[in-house]
């Protein structure tokens, strides 16, 4: 990596990207108040909201036009993911989109499955661990997905379940479920050889960036709640937000959010344009977003004192999901190590 290389640093959104962000911002603002988030617990899935979202094209927009999509880039999907995350939307957006894009690019995908995925009629999920190395595994979105895309040795497979597995109740109220992908369900080989591994790696990288974007949205909203509290709650005759012991930790959260968002965009852009850069930036972006979100949600809850520790307070929703989302793919420390791996590989 050449740190003095002449590159563009253009983080601006074009008109179309702004329109996508604004449309989904408005959709979630109208349709997904925190009451609806709570109503979807403990499963963490609102089927009606998912259908509304699919009707807006969220399930298909990132698919190639040949697969019934709009050919949106990953950056556009990241904008949607951030809005969904900010609203804590109980929908498996990252899981479905990452898996559906992998499926659409695979030679062995059945047309009917692809069409169902594009319409959001059949929810897909992505297994986070290779099938061969573990037995059963917790699959994010696995309690609402009838099909799971996974890597088994050197084949990319999709496993279909006739019945949804039961929810594994969890801290983040996400639709986690145990899947035994080596077992007897119907499985279809999507791709094999190096294309399989490459396709899976891209899908997992996309899931991580989409989840990271959702974590940034979550953190910004949690911060907003805490800032409003700090403006209005008084102690000793002044708003607590005037106290440095309150204001400075909140400023630290803002620092994290602003960098994490840009790092995610940069990583997402590189994943499509310069995979060698993405190898370092994707794990960096995910690990940083996980740190920013868990630190930010903790800080935001704490700034509301004991109230922030109650289930009644929305701060609880953000706190529980910050960890609940950032841990789904395993210990984020693995992503930290992956950053060093990329540096060492670039040096060799």
């Amino acid at each position: 990596m050449d740190r003095f290389e002449l590159r563009y640093a253009d983080y601006s959104l074009d008109g179309e990207q702004e329109a996508v962000r604004d449309a989904f911002h408005e959709f979630f603002a109208n349709e997904c108040p925190t009451e609806r988030v709570r109503a979807a617990e403990p499963l963490g899935h609102d089927e009606k909201l998912w259908r509304q979202l699919a009707a807006m094209g969220a399930a298909s927009m990132g698919l190639p036009e040949s697969a019934g999509g709009d050919g949106a880039t990953l950056v556009e999907l990241l904008l949607v993911a951030e809005e969904a995350g900010a609203a804590l939307a109980p929908v498996p957006f990252a899981e479905h989109v990452a898996a559906a894009r992998a499926l659409a690019g695979a030679p062995g995908a059945a047309a009917e499955l692809a069409a169902d995925a594009a319409a959001g009629r059949r929810i897909l999920a992505l297994a986070m661990e290779p099938v061969a190395t573990v037995g059963r595994q917790l699959v994010p979105g696995g309690a609402v997905a009838r099909s799971v895309v996974a890597l088994d040795g050197d084949t990319l497979i999709v496993v279909h379940a006739d019945e949804l597995p039961p929810l594994a109740p969890n801290q983040g109220s996400t639709p986690l479920a145990w899947w035994d992908l080596a077992g007897g369900q119907r499985r279809v080989v999507l791709a094999s050889g190096s294309a399989a591994a490459a396709g899976y790696q891209i899908a997992k990288a996309e899931w991580k960036l989409l989840t990271a974007a959702a974590l940034v949205g979550l953190t910004e909203r949690a911060l907003g709640v805490a800032v409003e509290f700090a403006k209005t709650r008084e102690t000793m005759g002044v708003p607590i937000g005037t106290l440095q012991g309150v204001a400075f930790p909140l400023a630290d959260v803002a620092i994290g959010i602003s960098g994490a968002r840009n790092l995610i965009w940069r990583a997402g852009w590189m994943l499509e344009h310069e995979p060698a850069e993405a190898r370092r930036l994707v794990p960096a972006a995910f690990a940083y977003a996980a740190q920013v979100a868990t630190h930010g949600a903790t800080t935001a809850a704490h700034m509301q004192g004991g109230l922030g520790f109650t289930i009644e307070a929305d701060a609880s929703l953000y706190f529980l999901r910050a960890k609940g989302w950032s841990l789904l793919a395993g210990d984020p420390a693995e992503d930290v190590i992956a950053v060093a791996d990329a540096l060492a590989a670039a040096r060799d």
Binding site: Y8, Y11, L263, A284, D341
Partner: protein, 407 residues
């Protein structure tokens, strides 16, 4: 959105080659060693050579002493100067002050100074901080009193980095102690050769030289005043906002996103050293440090915070850049172990000296240009919209009130 390499046409490539040849010729090992030893942030030979090419004010047209560079060429120059390690503190403060001089200086003063700035013979430093004032620069007590067509200045300024290499200091003075704190200030461009100025060196353990500058009955002409009497705060605001990244508006798609970028380039050099150490040294069992997952975890953590810092915008980037460097350099020291303590510049530290130097240098970055606490306040109020705290001294000079009360 675009993060790609900027494609260069043949003439731009030629310019890049020319810049690199210039740096090879002028920024020699001796120049770098001298800078390491003196920490002055300035090298006169290099600075004058840059001036001869119009590269001190590179975007100015040739007839004004610039090189008429377009944004791509100006960015190429900036990046290659950093790559080569051109000592650039005084260059930076000169450019910062230049905007205020152009905007608020009298036409005859501007006409007199600008050719020298472009040529490299006229250089500016910042006379902001006072020994008992710290980051609260609006609390300046250095007095300027009018005497006919002249002003008489008394007081002292600390951390006037580069004063020994500059011709003028951009001085904030108190001209009316009765007015509210921010309204009684006036800015001057004080010739450092004036009678009554004494410059004393201060060394930092970051290896830098800075100064304390004493002003004793220094008389200067009114022509060196910048802007109106008692209107100094508005004159100061331009350069200050630039330093604070408050006005970092627009996509600036070729520039640095973070105003802490230079801190992170120091961290980048330390990471490169740590990576080289981890990949090339051998442990007792024959393994390399990089084979150890704990080493990779710690190295990865420092690297990812550097990446995050580089893309953190505005005033947030200043805090993140310093924070990543302070923590990162300390972590890399621990990672390497006692060998990391060996002094930069000695034979044993050829591989890890950059880490040792970065660790010492890092501490200053949390303070200069406004402490990270000042920036936390800016973020809290301007980004988050939190209410501004009401401190006794935020609008008036507290010490002055105490003096009056005592009287």
């Amino acid at each position: 959105m675009d993060f790609g390499r900027v494609p260069l046409d043949a003439s731009e490539q030629e310019f890049l080659d020319d810049v690199r040849a210039f740096m090879d010729k002028h920024v020699t090992a001796e120049v770098l060693e001298e800078e390491r030893r003196t920490g002055s942030g300035f090298n006169e030979r290099v600075h004058l050579a840059l001036g001869a090419r119009g590269w001190i004010t590179p975007t100015w047209p040739g007839e004004r002493g610039g090189a008429g560079l377009d944004p791509v060429r100006a960015r190429i120059l900036e990046l290659e100067m950093r790559r080569a390690g051109v000592p650039s503190i005084t260059h930076g403060t000169t450019r910062l002050v230049l905007a205020a001089v152009e905007k608020s200086g009298r036409p005859d003063l501007v006409a007199e100074l600008l050719p020298g700035v472009a040529a490299g013979t006229v250089r500016f430093c910042l006379g902001y901080t006072e020994p008992d004032g710290g980051s609260d620069i609006a609390a300046a007590k250095t007095r300027a009193v009018r005497d006919g067509d002249e002003w008489v200045i008394n007081g002292s300024k600390i951390f006037t980095t580069g004063a020994q290499n500059c011709q003028y200091t951009f001085l904030i003075t108190r001209t009316d102690p009765e007015l509210p704190k921010h309204r009684g200030l006036t800015m001057f461009l004080v010739p450092l050769a004036s009678q009554g100025i004494e410059i004393q060196a201060i060394r930092t353990y970051g290896g830098e030289r800075t100064n304390i500058v004493y002003y004793s009955d220094v008389r200067i002409s009114d022509r060196y005043r910048l802007g109106g009497v008692n209107d100094g705060w508005s004159v100061l605001h331009g350069p200050l906002d630039e330093e604070h990244g408050v006005r970092a508006a627009g996509p600036a798609s070729l520039g640095d996103l973070s105003i802490g970028t230079s801190f992170l380039q120091t961290l980048g050099g330390a990471i490169d050293s740590a990576l080289a150490w981890a990949c090339t040294s051998n442990r007792a069992d024959g393994s390399r440090p990089i084979d150890d997952r704990m080493v990779r975890y710690r190295l990865g953590m420092v690297a990812l915070h550097m990446e995050a810092g580089l893309v953190t915008p505005g005033p947030m980037g200043r805090v993140k850049g310093s924070d990543a460097l302070v923590r990162g350099a300390a972590d890399l020291m621990d990672l390497v172990g006692p060998a990391a303590l060996l002094s930069e510049g000695t034979a044993d530290a050829s591989l890890t000296g950059a880490i040792e130097a970065a660790h010492r240098f890092a501490q200053g970055t949390a303070t200069y240009g406004g402490t990270v606490e000042v920036f936390h306040g800016i973020i809290a109020q301007h980004v988050l919209g939190l209410p501004r705290p009401a401190y006794p001294g935020s609008k008036t000079l507290v010490s002055r009130k105490r003096e009056q009360a005592a009287a």
